[in-house]
Amino acid sequence: MPKKVVSGNYAAAYAAKHARVEVVAAYPITPQTSIIEKIAEFIANGEVENLQYVPVESEHSAMAACIGASATGARAFTATSAQGLALMHEMLHWAAGARLPIVMVDVNRAMAPPWSVWDDQTDSLAQRDTGWLQFYAENNQEVYDGVLMAFKIAEHEKVNLPVMVVESAFILSHTYDVVDMPEQEEIDEFLPPRKPLYTLTDFENPFSVGALGTPADYYEFRYKIAKAMEEAKKVIKEVGKEYGERFGRDYSQMIELYKTDDAEIVFMGMGSLMGTVKEAVDMLRSEGYKVGAAKVRWFRPFPKEELYELAKNVEGIAVLDRNFSFGQEGILFNEAKGVLYNTDAKPIMKNYIVGLGGRDLTVNDVKTIAKNMREIIQKGKLDREIEWYHLKR
């Protein structure tokens, strides 16, 4: 299998190329820019056939162009970040509502103000209700694998929904790492050409997409999306398993469990920070702590069942959120706690707000959190539900 040393952004660009995308419409925004620069390079060098790059004047137009392209049956791709993703918001609903399997890479970046280009998950999580599936990558390899799987899942006949593959600003986007890339023929076998639900270029049978839905009809279309999201859970597991069988990296779990079999305390989180957490788990294990890590790969659809299975056997869950919903709590914490409310599993759960706007979360920080969690479990009582971990006090 060919290996390349690439940044997270180049991994995304290579994955789009290997997925044989036909239309890319994107607007450059730091730190996403090098994804579309690389794709433009592929086109300039004649390395790709049948790929149309659409230069647009904003992210709103980028998504609009992808929607148009996808509605004609083309495989469409885009990439963005933070404020750009926010500018796309209205169009994201159109993509999901019209059931178009567009794939986008979002490079997680903090929302301004204050102006920031560093890592923070609030931008993508603020789009959680748009009907997009969301995959959070831990490293460059997962960015690459995630984009390939995203196309297969999005275009599955039971899904037909857009997918967002999320990577961390700079921590992944601009950091180089070895990435395994399968041969093009193997990828073509895994990811055959798209079979669209409908094509607007069917001139013999004209129809309109996204036409008026009166109160008599709108409701049913919402249900269809909800059902497709539930179906997507099965599809994700199937595709993840198939990916493992073909290419050696298994993604059949929506939550990746790391040393959780006999764990009393589990750290739960998403994205690149879970690499640090796994490292810390190894160290803490050697110091006698029974800890494990649960990396939430898919945030939408939310892996309720897997979380319940995990929660049954642990005493405490420390949810590390690199995001915050103002007026409430960390978004992953909010979701996870909500899932467990009507179940018999009642682990002690505490929310640690970490790493906002690119602040480092180190192995020592995870150790401190482990000590705090152990005290809480010994007392059987939370000191506080939400902790702003890095706050200068």
């Binding site: 509502g97 019209a98 059931r99 037909n160 639900l197 409908y198 049978n205 004209p206 129809f207 309109s208 997409v209 996204g210 036409a211 008026l212 839905g213 009166t214 009809d217 049913e220 279309f221 249900y223 269809k224 497709a228």
Partner: protein
């Protein structure tokens, strides 16, 4: 009839879905919006009194839908499948030939 003045829109089948499974997977409307009847939004319906009508076609020009068409005899008529009952025709009619009548459903 002179088509310059427009005729009643071609009649399309109204799509009726009885259960969620009958709906298409994506919100697409076959045959464009012809089958998407908007007349049931109406509370007041315009009624044309032909004895007062002077065939000026101001109502036809002003109808935003357009749900007013011109019959063979030159009088205007309302296509109630698409008339939303906005009342612009009644307001603009110089001879007050159009009255808005509350609809019994």
């Amino acid at each position: 009839m002179n088509t310059l003045f427009g005729e009643k829109k071609a009649k399309a089948e109204k799509m009726v879905f009885k259960s969620v499974d009958e709906y298409p997977e994506a919100p697409i409307t076959l045959g464009t919006t012809l089958s998407n009847f908007t007349g049931d939004w109406r509370t007041f319906m315009p009624v044309i009194d032909e004895s007062k009508c002077i065939k000026c076609y101001i109502c036809w020009k002003f109808c935003p839908e357009p749900a007013i068409y011109i019959k063979e005899d030159g009088y205007t008529a309302v296509d109630y499948d698409y008339c939303k009952g906005c009342g612009i025709c009644a307001n603009e009619c110089p001879t007050k030939a159009i009255s808005m009548v509350r609809e019994e459903k």
